[in-house]
């Protein structure tokens, strides 16, 4: 079963607008969440993270929101830039079923395209 789900395989937005990428999880023991960005032929690079004790974390143009009751998190990018075009992976960790505090469970990713 997939414990981290990114239901939108792709998203297209205009430059300067907001990009919102969504992620849902099923394991209530997850307590740390991360977003990674991946360009073609490169490994994923860490973007931003949030602990379950918070509901928001902001870093420049990137903000991650966590709604624990809904088991949902989202990544907001504003304003979006063409260089943001990449695959974005949501990941989670925690001491739940089959989990650990170091083993990351990833979603399948969302391809973001920012059009000039």
């Amino acid at each position: 079963d997939q414990q981290v789900k990114q239901n939108s395989p792709s998203l297209s937005v205009q430059e300067g607008r907001i990009s919102i990428l969504n992620c849902d999880y099923t394991n209530s023991m997850f307590d740390y969440f991360l977003w990674y960005k991946k360009y073609p032929a490169e490994g994923p690079t860490f973007l931003i993270s949030i602990s379950s004790i918070k509901d928001k974390n902001e870093d420049g143009r990137f903000t991650v929101f966590l709604n624990k009751s809904a088991k949902h998190l989202s990544l907001h990018i504003v304003p979006s830039q063409p260089g943001d075009s990449a695959v974005y992976f949501c990941a989670a960790s925690g001491l739940g079923r089959g989990g650990s505090n170091y083993k990351l469970t990833f979603g399948k990713g969302t391809l973001l395209t920012v059009n000039p």
């Binding site: 991360l34 490994g43 860490f46 992976f89 170091y102 083993k103 990351l104 990833f106 399948k108």
Partner: protein, 116 residues
């Protein structure tokens, strides 16, 4: 400074052959992880090392898969008697410590394995 490097970048092999994939972590990183990404899937955890020991091998898909790490640095993932379902991108990551997910995992570019 150098990031995580992996070799080869691409490997094509015939079914039944053995392959070795190499990972050079960031210098000084004590923790090392292997993941794989099959087509259309998220990253799947395989194994991690703390120093030269691998306390958690639960993610290895079968006994055809093995990994070792020597000198607290380079790691090799070996797949024996490869099968077509082993075709995937194999990603290595390292982190400074194994102190939970808060220790950022830095990924290499991956090795794309194709089993014919």
């Amino acid at each position: 400074g150098a990031g995580v490097s992996q070799s080869p970048s691409n490997k094509v092999t015939e079914k039944g052959k053995d392959v070795e994939l190499r990972c050079d972590p960031i210098s000084g990183h004590t923790a090392l992880y292997w993941y794989r990404q099959s087509l259309g899937q998220g990253l799947e955890f395989l194994i991690y090392f703390q120093g030269n020991s691998a306390p958690d091998k639960s993610g290895l898909p079968s006994d055809r898969f093995s990994a070792e790490r020597t000198g607290g640095s380079v790691s090799t993932l070996t797949i024996q008697r490869t099968q077509q379902e082993d075709s995937a991108v194999y990603l290595c990551a390292s982190s400074l410590r194994l102190a939970g997910a808060t220790d950022t995992q830095y990924f290499g570019p991956g090795t794309r394995l194709t089993v014919l």
